[in-house]
Amino acid sequence: MSEAEAIDRAKGGDAECFELLYGLHKRRVYSLCLRMVGNTAEAEDLTQEAFLQLYRKIATFRGESAFSTWLHRLAVNVVLMHLRKKGLPEVSLEEAMEPQQEDGPKKDIGARDNVLAGSIDRVNLERAIESLPPGYRIIFVLHDIEGYEHNEIAEMMGCSIGNSKSQLHKARMKLRDLLKTSRAEKAATRR
């Protein structure tokens, strides 16, 4: 059965087709939720809610976008709604900025270091992403991993495009620091 056929049948309440759609998309939805909230229990609850909303709304899917795109956007909205209910409104996401990154000259100025290119493995990158402050992590996941544009993120988050770009930059700078530290620690243990 193709996905399109499964969607049509799921609209009619076919339980096996619901399960097929779940099997096809569970990993991506769950990974998105987990990367955005950083907690497996929450991510599972959000995955469950995203699929339940999918099944409640599947009759409204018209095929104007790809099904995966539609589901993905729905999952993102579920996560953002959850974060807002937890008391993480957009302004507090702005306040996740570390003050020292706003003040004075940047610490990179005048200090050259080995570039990261070729030295990141995915496990370390995933770990570094998990340890980002929530505000940075959300924007980074949405933009760099999930591929949303800044204007889309701004609309979803209720912030400006400039703020989205600024938060993304701070996230990447923080990741750079974390990855360089991790690399240095590994090099030190080898000696």
């Binding site: 099997g23 990993r27 599972e44 339940l52 990261l116 990158l125």
Partner: protein
């Protein structure tokens, strides 16, 4: 243009490119050039991250329960095996 001035506008130009002065600084400054290279590399590697994790089987069980409770499914409860997967 100083490095501080360049790095202040970097968030807004890293994807779209900057002014002639900003691009000139980038081309001539190894520190800022290394920084931009690192940030772009991180972004590129992030795009390659695959959905690696699976939710526990309990998630589907909970979904099934809710679907039946809400009357969204017409047939009886399936036994949890994903068809053909």
């Amino acid at each position: 243009m100083t490095c501080a001035e360049f790095q202040k506008v970097l968030p807004y130009i890293i994807e779209t490119g900057g002014s002639e002065e900003e691009e000139s600084h980038l081309a001539s400054c190894p520190v800022c050039s290394d920084l931009v290279q690192d940030l772009r590399y991180i972004a590129e590697q992030a795009k390659l991250l695959l959905p690696m994790r699976e939710p526990s089987p309990q998630v589907w069980d909970n979904i099934q329960d809710s679907l039946e409770r809400e009357g969204l499914v017409k047939t009886g409860r399936s036994k949890g095996k994903i068809l053909g997967l």
